[in-house]
Every structure is written in structure tokens, then in C-alpha cells.
Amino acid sequence: MIEGILIGLSAAFSIQNLLMVIAGCLIGTFIGMLPGLGPMSIIAIMIPVAITLGDPAAALILLAGVYYGAIFGGSTSSILLNAPGVAGTVATSFDGYPMAQNGQAGKALTIAAVASFAGGTLGAILLMIFAPVLSQVALSFHSAEYFALMVVGLSAIAAFTGTGQVAKALMMTILGLILATVGEGALFNLPRFTMGLMDLQSGISFITLAMAMFALPEAMFLVINPVRSASGGRSGKIDNLRFSREEGRAMVPVIGRQSVQGFFIGVLPGAGATIASFLGYAVERNLAKGEEQAAFGKGAVKGLAAPETANNAACVGSFVPLLTLGIPGSGTTAILLGALIALNVTPGPRLMTDTPEIFWAVIISMFIGNLVLLILNLPLIPYIAKILAIPRTYLIPFILFFTLMGAYIGQNNATELLILVGLGVMATLLRFADYPLAPLLIGFILGTMLEDNFARSMQLYRGLDFIFERPMTLTLLVVALLLVLLPSYRAHRVRKRAEND
């Protein structure tokens, strides 16, 4: 392995390649902030540039920089504007946005940058050691297990929910699942609930729904409720980037756990960063005790570090099936596979033995990408965070523009804007009635995968037998049940103790 690392290092460290990674990180970060452009489209845009470089190592290093930059850029819009541009950063906004609202935008961005760096780097170490072994793990999951994993993801919603909100959260989850059924399902050749609109044929797009649920209501509330926003983070000191020593210490175990957990979830083709970030958040909230747990959702350091570590580690994990089996586990790795093939590299079991320099260049490029990203972004954070210092009168149109553009850019379709505004009004009304909107979005994201895998398992086993015939499925379903019951059991115990006192 040492030999491989040296090959990778010698491939990666040249002036040209270092310039590549810096350019990639900058481009990725800034474009990644736009909600319509996730890592997938940015990499697609950059591929022609990368290919003209000719040298596979340089191209991969450029694309790795773009990839990690885009992920970090996506977190930025989640934290500052409550506008998650990709599904993997939805959980980042749960605590990142409240933290920014409390005048700690700079700190929140720093934590996100550090957690991303740690998750990405630790993930890359795990990849280096375990990649060949793990290809078999990636193949041990059948549709039945994916279905069970989605149920675990949904049950994690119980962990996001504050006391007294359980019924409302449940209703919102179901509404999200319902919205996920719009359009042509993967298993049925018929459009459902499209009302004859061709624009709904492929379903409601994630970006549109995310903007409608999070960013639009936020802008509307800024208009309606000037007092709240005036007392918010705008006047606070956003230049303060540091987190305290205690906060740092609290983050260490979270980062440790979530790098490993996120990485392993990422290894499964199709599960990816989104599930990893939700489960990471849920697990950390359940592990936290008392006051610390109560702080989740209100700007907890752990609540921000967990999903940020997990989604980056999962992104690295998704390289396992790509590099060792040649199977893309996510949209982004599918694009990367295209780029690799264009560079005359065919990933597969023989990649490590046939062209070790490529394999190690990819891994080394991950380390360099993450490190350069951290070094570049830390000094930029005060300037990025200054966005919140923009006076309200300018900030509101800015958010609206940002939101509308995000919905439009992915589809190039004006009807998307009408759908966005319609859903946005609905979301604002729901927020007035104090319904939590995160469960709706999670239900929507997981709904499609839940349905597909359930239907596929039903078809393969011609019935529900798969639940009992596959031990892993049953285990995951039991875990899901525990995730639902544990918080209420704890609440019950606390109440009992209070009564006894």
C-alpha cells in the first residue's frame, strides 16, 4: 500500500495539479452555492475541461476538487439561507440555519468546513484500507434490505420531532410520501396524479420542493414578521469564526462515529449521502443526553457536525462500488464513471492491479481536495457569512431570486416556477399552523426509493415473505421500530421521574 501511496503522491504533486485542485475547489464552492446546480451538474459542466487536460490524474484531481467544493458550497446555502440545494444537505439546515440566525453564521460555516474535512479525510482513509473487501458488502444488499433501510430513514423522523409534535410530524411525513408518488413510478408505466400536466410526468423535482418548503416560507416570514428578523443574526457579530474548546471536544466523538457510519452507508449503491446525513443526525440526537438533546434543532454544534461529517464520508464511500465494481451508486458517481471511461479508464475489480496509479491518484486527490478546500475556505468564510449582514430590504429579493433561479435552472422550464410558488404558499400556511416541514421533505426524498424497493421485493418474492426470509431485512426493521419507540420511552421515563420527585 505504501508503494501505491507514493505512486499517487508523485502523480498528484505537481504545480499543474495543485493549480487544478485550487481551481476545482473554487469553482465547485461558488457554483455549488446556487441551489439548482448540485455536484452532479457542476461535474458534468467541468468534464469537457477535464478531458482536454489529457492526463487522467490531473483530470481526476480537478473533478475531485469540484466535487468536494460543490458539496461544501451546498452546505453554505443550507446554513445561511435555509435553502438546501441537494438532498444531502437538508439535515445540515436543521441546526446550521438556527445557528446562523443566532448570530453565529461564521462559526456554523467553520464547523461545517471542519466536519466536512474530517468526514472526507477519514472516509478516504477507510476507502484506502477497506475498498477491496467492501465491494462484497455493497453487493450483500438486495431490494428488500434497501426497503428496510428506507424505513429506518423514515423512523429517524421520530428523532427530529420535538415533544408534542409527533402527530403533526407524522402527518407531514405522510404528505411527503404522497407527493413522492406524483409522476411516472419506476415500476409502473403510467403517470400518476399528474393532472394531465406534462411537466409533472417525471414527478416534482427535489430542488423545487426543497426551495418551496424551506427557502420561500423563510422569505415570506421575513416580510410578514419584521421584529423576529430584526432581532436575529443580522446585527450579531458574524466575524467570529471560532468554536470554543468545549465545543470542539464535543464534536470529536460525533465526527469519529459519523465518519465511519456515513462511509459504510455510502458504500451501498443507491443509499448515499442523504440517508447517511439523516441517520447521522438521528443517531447523534438519540445519543445526546438531557439539555444537549434539547438543543438539537435550535443550533446545536453536534446537530450540525453530524450530518456534515456523514454526508462527506458517504460521498467517499460511494467510490467503493464505483472503483471496485464499476457500478455507479449515485447520480454523481454515474457522471464520474462517464468521465473515467472518457479518460480510457474502466473501473472494475482489476483497476487496482492493472492501473494502480489511477486508483491511488483518485484517493490522493481526495486528500488533497479536502485539505485545499479547508485551507481556501476558512479565510473566505467571513466574506461569505457577510451575506446575512445585507439589509432585509435587499436580502428578501435576493433570497427570492436565488430560490426562483434554483427551481428554474435545473429544468429550464417556466412551469416549474408556478409549481414552486404554489407549493411555497402551501408551505407558508403550514408553518403558520406550526407544522414541521422537514419531515415532509424527508418523506418525499425517501418515498420514491421506499416504494420502488418495496414493489421490487414484492415482485421478486411474490408477497411479503422477504421480511422473514432475509434476516438483514428483519434486523433493520427492528432497528426502525426501536428508533421510533426509544425517544417516547425516554420521555415517559423522564415524566415518571418528575412525578416521583
Partner: protein, 327 residues
């Protein structure tokens, strides 16, 4: 501020791409000043790659001055088709990329239009379909596959990367029909993408997979899967180990073509220019580089040949879909 910078970075990236793409142009071969590619799906898909690869070859061979791309997804391609028809007057220099699904989806009524509502430019590339199994599977050829299916019935699942009634399913059904089996009876398991379906095959969830030949070759060359039948007339030179369906007594051929369409009613000159540019492009080293890089097969059908080909395909697929009960 941040916005502005981000937009600038974006603009810079696209400008760089264009400049690099067009760097080698400008001898007197130029046929068209510019071509606008309309892509009915998102960045990174098969249509996107075909349009961008063709554009790259056209500009670097100096046949076209500059190219631009527009991704317009939605409605399984229907949104872009409607856009091309409604705005035909202002889209004279536009070519839309499409492939076999335009035939299938207009048959099933996903969108009301068909290829007859557009100007046919040319079919340019194609990919055969293939049935593959896991390397450690006991199935060596189509006969083994049919034997296993006859023995296990519904618990013998064949997967594919798209919904029932779409290409992967139809290819598997064509094989079954040609082998004298009931094409509606076998258990087809759909996945939402080719990669997911391949993972399903390798994990042992499905016993065989219906997929594109080039995708299958990538994994077969690593020894992960075995191609037991390809839908070409003769063995494909790129991977001669793969036997055809025909040589195993299964009378089935199928090509998933990709090609270009223009707005209805464009001038004859404009159409001729599009077709000339693509025809000359075929013999350039620039095209060969793009083609080889992507593993595409040259299958060129110009204008009227393209129409005959599409009508034939529509007939064959339509008949099969009626048998399967999808129409």
C-alpha cells in the same frame, strides 16, 4: 457579491469549455456558423453525452463554427419536443437529440407527438442490446437461460434498468417470443437506472439482466459478467467473445439508435447543411476519437433511410407491445 462571483465562475467555466472545444477550427471546411443542440434530458445522461460529443467533433473538425447546448428535461422528452414544434420559426439552427424511446413513448402516449411531427436529420450512432448473467452463474448461453426459466418459472427473474414496457423489457420479451415462449409470462424486475440493475444482478437478486451492449462490455471485460447474447446481426468487433442471438437460433435483432431531429418546416438548405456536416464528420479523426472514447457504434441513417428505419422499428415494437398488452 457571492452571487456575482458564482455566476462569473459559471460563465468562465462555460467560456473555457467553448474556447477549448473550438480551438482547432477554421480551415475552409466550415459548413454551418453555429448549431444549437436541444437535449431533452438533464446533464450527464445518454442524450446529453451524445449531443455534447457530436458538438465537440463538429467544432474541432472545423465543420461548425460554434455550438451551444440547452438541457430541457421533462415529460420523458415530451417537453423538448413540444418546445421544438411550438417555436419552430425561431429554432432554425437547432438539432434535438433523441433515441429509441421517442418511438416507444409516442406509441404509449407519454407525449402526443411522434417523429413524424419533426424534420428527420439523421440517425448517427447506436448500441445493441444484450442479455448478461453473473460470471459464476451456471448459465452459459441462451439455451441454458431458457432451460432455467422453464424449470423455475416466475422465480426466474430478469431485470432491466427501466420501467415495464420500455426498451430493456421489450428486448427480453423479443428473445422470449423468438424462442417460442410466452413473452408476457416471465418475471421482469425493473430498476430505475442501469447501474442499479447491474448491482441487482451482481448481488444475485436477479438471474439475468437485459441491458445495453456497451454497458455490458465494460463489466464483461473485467470478468464480472458474461454476455450470453447480443442483438446484432454479426459478432461485434469491439468484443467478439459475445455470441449473437441469431447464431443461437434466436431470430432477433435490435438497435437502440441515437440521432438528431430538427424543427418542422426548416428550409431544404438548412436540412442539407445539417446532414452534410454529420456525414463529413463521420470520416474525421475528431469524430473517431469521440466515438471510441464513448464506445459508440457508427450506425448512420440519413434522411429518408432514417424514416424507413424508424417506421420499421415502430412496426416491430408496436406489434410486440400489443402482444404484451401495453397498447
Amino acid at each position: 457579491m457571492k452571487m456575482k462571483r458564482a455566476l462569473m465562475a459559471y460563465a468562465l467555466a462555460s467560456v473555457t469549455a467553448t474556447v477549448l472545444g473550438g480551438a482547432a477550427l477554421a480551415d475552409d471546411r466550415q459548413i454551418l456558423d453555429n448549431v444549437h443542440f436541444l437535449i431533452p434530458g438533464g446533464a450527464g445522461g445518454g442524450w446529453d453525452g451524445t449531443a455534447r460529443g457530436t458538438g465537440e467533433a463538429l467544432t474541432s473538425a472545423g465543420l461548425v463554427g460554434s455550438v451551444s447546448y440547452e438541457n430541457m428535461s421533462g415529460g420523458g422528452g415530451g417537453v423538448a419536443i413540444a418546445h421544438l414544434i411550438e417555436n419552430a420559426d425561431s429554432l432554425q439552427n437547432t438539432m434535438m437529440v433523441n433515441s429509441t424511446p421517442i418511438v416507444i413513448r409516442s406509441l404509449t402516449g407519454v407525449f402526443p407527438q411522434s417523429f413524424r411531427d419533426l424534420t428527420l436529420v439523421a440517425g448517427t450512432i447506436g448500441d445493441y442490446a444484450a442479455l448478461v448473467v453473473n460470471t459464476d452463474s451456471e448459465i452459459q448461453n441462451i439455451d441454458d437461460l431458457l432451460a432455467a426459466y422453464r424449470e423455475d418459472g416466475m422465480s426466474f427473474a430478469i431485470g432491466g434498468g427501466s420501467v415495464p414496457g420500455s426498451m430493456d423489457h421489450l428486448v427480453a420479451a423479443m428473445v422470449m417470443q423468438a424462442a417460442g415462449e410466452d413473452p408476457t409470462a416471465f418475471n421482469y424486475i425493473p430498476y430505475d437506472a442501469g447501474g442499479a440493475a447491474m448491482a441487482g444482478l451482481l448481488s444475485g437478486e436477479i438471474r439475468a439482466l437485459s441491458t445495453g451492449f456497451s454497458e455490458a462490455v465494460a463489466l464483461a471485460s473485467h470478468g464480472e459478467v458474461r454476455i450470453i447474447g447480443v442483438t446484432s446481426d454479426e459478432r461485434v468487433p469491439a468484443f467478439p467473445d459475445a455470441p449473437t442471438m441469431m447464431e443461437q437460433g434466436i431470430n432477433t435483432t435490435f438497435v437502440n439508435w441515437r440521432g438528431f431531429f430538427a424543427a418542422p418546416g426548416i428550409s431544404d438548405d438548412q436540412l442539407a447543411a445539417f446532414q452534410d456536416a454529420l456525414t463529413i464528420m463521420y470520416d474525421t479523426p475528431e469524430w473517431e476519437e469521440v466515438r471510441a472514447r464513448n464506445g459508440w457504434v457508427n450506425i448512420h441513417n440519413n434522411g429518408d433511410d432514417f424514416r424507413v428505419f424508424l417506421e420499421e422499428q415502430e412496426q416491430v415494437i408496436g406489434d410486440l407491445m400489443r402482444t404484451l398488452g401495453f397498447l
